[in-house]
Symmetry: C3
Subunit: 364 residues, 3 copies
C-alpha cells in the first residue's frame, strides 16, 4: 500500500466501484434523460430494442450534451451535427463521412435494469458485478405491495439523507404532523437494537402500547383511543441505500411475534440517495401500501403523506449542508441516539478507504 | 507589538470588539430570528422571561441552524433532534439522554437591549462594556419624536453606507425628487464645518435663504415662494453608526440661533449599517417626526419619503460595490467634498489597527 | 521575442488590438448605455453634438458606474456626486471645486461610427486604424436591402458562435423547422469550397435541385413541388465577424451563373460576436430582405424567422459552453465537416499569438 497515493486521493467523497441508482426504469422511455451522477454528466437512453444505456453526456466532436439529441434506430444521435452513438459509446454514424475513426466514442457506463431500477456503475467497468446489486423484491411487486416510484433533488451531501434515516429521534420534532405526531418522548425512548454488518448497519426500534402518529391513524382508520405496538426496522446498505420496514398493529395483537399478519399499518420503504455532487443528491424513494393492497386510494394517500414528510426533511437537510459548507471545521458532538448513525458513516469511510488502497496497490 | 501578527491579520474588514445593532427589539418576539453578522450565522431569541439572547446559529450536534427550531420553557430547542440551549449557549436538554457533556454548547454573544435596539458584541466577550453603547434618546421617545423603526439589506460594504452619509453633495444628484430637490448648486456649496473626534467625525452644513426640497415642503406645508435656512448635522460614530439632525426654518426665524423652536421641519435620524459580510450589510434606520409630533399621518409620510430616498441610494451603493469588487486595485481620487468622508474612514482603520495590535500583544 | 513574456500571457482569450462591435448606432441615443466588453465595463454615450464615445464605466472618484448618470452639455455626468467627463475621459467639472487635478479622468476607448455600427478598440489606442474596420455596405442600404438590426446575449465564448457558422451541417439537425428543413442529407452533402485567407476563412456551399427549407418557401412563396439551386457563402473575418450571403433560385434559372437576378430568395447576413467575458458574448446580427425590398412585411417576416433560428442555436451553444467549462481538458475529435471551422480557429490563434509577440518585443 502506498501512503502517498492514499494521501493524493485523500479527499474522495464516495466509492466509485459501486452500483448507484441512476433512475427509475419508467423515467427513461422514448427520449434521453440527463443526470449528473458522482460529479459526471451522464445521459440515459433506451434503444429501439428497449435496452437502457448510460453514456457520457458530451459529444466527442464539439462537446455538446447528447441529451439535446434524439434516440434513432442506430442509437443516440447528437442534436448538433448528427453523430450517432450506440449503447457502448461507439460512434456509428458521422453524417456525410464514410470512415469513422476509432477514437470517435464517448464513455459508457455499465447499466443494469433490475426491479424497475436503472443501476449504474461509475467506477472501473471490469469490476462491475451484477450480483452486488441490492435485492428488494417489493420494488416490482405491485400486486401485493402497491406503491409509486418517486425522486427528488436535495441540495445536500447524500450521507446527510442516510444519516437522517439512521437517527429516528428526529421524527417527533420535524414530522409532528405526519409520521412523528403523538407521544413525543415515547418515540424518542423507543427500544433500539443495532447490528453492525460488513455491508452497513441494521437496527430495529419498538414502541409498545403507544398512540399511533397521524399518518398511521389515517392509513389504518384507527379511532382516537387506539394504542398500538409500533416498529421501525432500518438497514443501511453502503454506499447509498436504506431499506425500511415500518408498521404498527393494535396493542395486544402480538406484533412482536408476527409482524406479517393482516390489519394495522405496514410499509416497506425504499430510500437511496445518489450523489450528484458533494453537496447535492438525487433521493429516490417508494413506500409500499402493504396493509390495504387492493385500495388504490390508500396507496395514493400513503405516497402523499410520505412525500409531505420528506418535504419537511428537505429544509433541515439543505440548511444543515449550508452550515457545514460554511464552517467545515466545526467540531460536532455525538449523542446517545447516534448509535446507528456513527457506524453507518464508518462503513462508508471503510469502503472509500479500501478503494483508495486498491488504487494505490494497482499504481505500485 | 508583533509586526508578524499584524501582517497575518492584515485583512480585517471591521473591528470585532464593538457593539453592533443586531436587530430592532420588536423584530424578536415569540420565535427565533436568523441574522448573518460579521460573517457569522447568529440566531436571536427572546426567552420566556422576555430576555433576548444571541447564539451561534448552528447546533453542536449535527450542524443544523437553530433558527429552524422553537423557543421553549428551557430555552431555544433545535428542530432536528430536540436539543435545548439556554441563553448562555449551554445545552440543557438532550431528549432521552440523562447526562449532558460540558462540550455540548454553542457560542453565545453578549447582547444588550437598550432604547429598543438589540446590540450584539461579536468579539472578545470579556471586553464587552455596556457603557460603550451609543445613547440616542430619540429612539424610544415616541411621544415627542414619533417614528418607525426600519431595516433593509444592501449588497455593499457597510462603510459605503457610512461614506454616502459623510458627503451630502450626492443629495442634489441622487435625491432630486425627495430631499435633494430645489437649488442644486446651493446645496453643493453649503457651508461645511467638520470636527474630527476620537470616536468619529462630526460636521454641520448650513444653507441659508434657500428653496426647501420637496420632502421638506411636503412635511412643513410651505408654499412655493418660501425660502428657508436649512441645516444638516451629522456625526459618524465608529464603527457603524451615523447620527443625524436635519431641519429647516423659514428664513429670518433665526434657525442658526435656535434650531429647537417650533414650526418648520426637523428630524433626528438614526443610521447604522451592520456588516453581514464584506459586501453586504443590514441598514437599520429611523427618522423622527420632530415637527408635528401629534400628527400620525405626518410620521407615516416622513417615513415613506425617507424610505424612498434610501431606495434611491441602494442602486448606487450596490453598483459601486460591484465595481469595487470587480477591480479592487483601481486608484481613486479625492475631491474637496471628501473632507468628512476621508477622516471617517481613517477612524475606522485606526480602530481596526488598534485591535490588531492588542491581538499581537496578547499573542506575545 | 521573449518566450517568458509569451508564457506569462499564455492565456489570452482574444486579440485586444482589433475593432469590435460595441453597439448598433441606434442603441445609443439620449442616455448612456452600459456594456461589458472584453471583460471591461464600458459606458457608451452620445454627446450633444451627436458624437458617440466609449468610456470606462466607473467614476474615478468613488467607483460608481457612470451609466447611472446623465448626458449633459459638457459630457457624461456621474449620478452620485456630479462629476462630468468629456468624450476623451477627462473630468471637466467637479461641482463646487474650481481646480480639477489632471489625474481626474477615466479611460476612453477609440470609437468609430460606420454603417450604423459603433466600433470600439479595446487595445492600444495608438494602433487603432479606422481602415481596418470591415466594410459591409448592406448595413446602411435600407432601400435596396431592407433589414432590422438586432442583438442578443449568449452565455458562451464568442468563438462558439463563429464556429457554429463555420459548419453548416448543423442546420438540418438544429433548424429543421426553419432554414434547415427539407432534404437532410442533401444539405449535409452540399459541395463545399473553402479558401483560407490572412484575415479569415471563406467558403461557399451549393445544393442543386433540392427542396427549399420552410423559411425560404415562406419568403419566396414557392409551391410544394418547387426545387431550387441553393447557396451559402460565408466569410469569417477575425476576430469576431462572419459575413453571409445565402439564397436560392428555382432550379434551371442559372443561379450558379448569376446569383443577383431577381426572384427567389436572397439575404445578406451580418454576424458579429463581441466577447463580454470568456463565457459570454453579444451577438449582433441583421439579415437583409434582398428579394422583395419593397415589401415591409417580408422584411419583418424574415427577421422573425432568423431570430427564431438563432434562438434554436442558443440552447446548444450555452450547453456546449457549460460542458467545456466543466471539463476543459476533454480531447475532442474533428470530422470532415470541420474543414472551415478548424482554419477559422487557427486564424484567431495566430492573431492572438502575434499580439503576444508584439507585447514581448515591446517589453524587451
Amino acid at each position: 500500500m502506498s501512503n502517498k497515493a492514499l494521501q493524493n486521493n485523500a479527499h474522495k467523497p464516495w466509492p466509485h466501484n459501486a452500483w448507484y441508482q441512476a433512475a427509475w426504469a419508467h423515467e427513461v422511455q422514448d427520449g434521453p434523460l440527463a443526470r449528473t451522477l458522482l460529479n459526471e454528466p451522464v445521459v440515459l437512453f433506451r434503444d429501439r430494442d428497449g435496452n437502457a444505456h448510460a453514456l457520457e453526456d458530451r459529444c466527442c466532436h464539439r462537446a455538446t450534451p447528447l441529451h439535446l439529441g434524439d434516440v434513432v434506430d442506430e442509437g443516440l444521435q447528437c442534436g448538433y451535427h448528427g453523430l450517432i452513438f450506440d449503447g457502448s459509446g461507439k460512434c456509428v454514424v458521422i453524417p456525410g463521412q464514410e470512415s469513422i475513426p476509432p477514437q470517435a466514442r464517448v464513455r459508457s457506463y455499465p447499466l443494469v435494469e433490475k426491479q424497475e431500477i436503472l443501476w449504474v456503475w461509475m467506477g472501473d467497468a471490469d469490476a462491475a458485478d451484477e450480483n452486488l446489486i441490492i435485492d428488494f423484491p417489493f420494488l416490482d411487486d405491485h400486486e401485493n405491495h402497491p406503491h409509486l416510484h418517486d425522486v427528488m433533488t436535495i441540495k445536500c451531501n447524500h450521507m446527510l439523507v442516510v444519516e437522517n434515516l439512521m437517527d429516528l429521534t428526529h421524527i417527533p420534532y420535524i414530522h409532528g404532523k405526519t409520521i412523528g405526531g403523538g407521544n413525543r418522548l415515547g418515540q424518542v425512548n423507543a427500544t433500539m437494537d443495532v447490528t453492525k454488518k460488513d455491508s452497513g448497519v441494521h437496527y430495529i426500534r419498538w414502541m409498545e402500547d403507544i398512540v399511533p402518529p397521524p399518518t398511521y391513524k389515517l392509513a389504518a382508520g384507527w379511532d382516537d383511543d387506539v394504542k398500538v405496538d409500533r416498529w421501525q426496522e432500518f438497514e443501511y446498505v453502503a454506499p447509498a441505500t436504506v431499506l425500511q420496514w415500518s408498521g404498527a398493529l393494535e396493542h395486544g395483537r402480538g406484533a412482536k411475534e408476527d409482524r406479517d399478519q393482516k390489519g394495522g399499518f405496514s410499509s416497506h420503504v425504499w430510500h437511496t440517495a445518489t450523489p450528484e455532487t458533494e453537496t447535492s443528491c438525487l433521493y429516490f424513494w417508494s413506500a409500499t401500501n402493504s396493509y390495504k393492497p387492493d385500495d388504490q386510494e390508500a396507496t395514493k394517500l400513503l405516497h402523499r403523506e410520505v412525500s409531505n414528510t420528506f418535504d419537511e426533511d428537505v429544509a433541515f437537510l439543505e440548511n444543515q449542508q449550508a452550515c457545514l459548507s460554511a464552517n467545515p471545521d466545526q467540531v460536532l458532538i455525538d449523542i446517545k441516539h447516534d448509535v446507528a448513525r456513527k457506524p453507518a458513516r464508518t462503513v462508508l469511510e471503510r469502503m472509500i478507504h479500501a478503494e483508495l488502497e486498491e488504487t494505490a496497490v494497482a499504481a505500485e
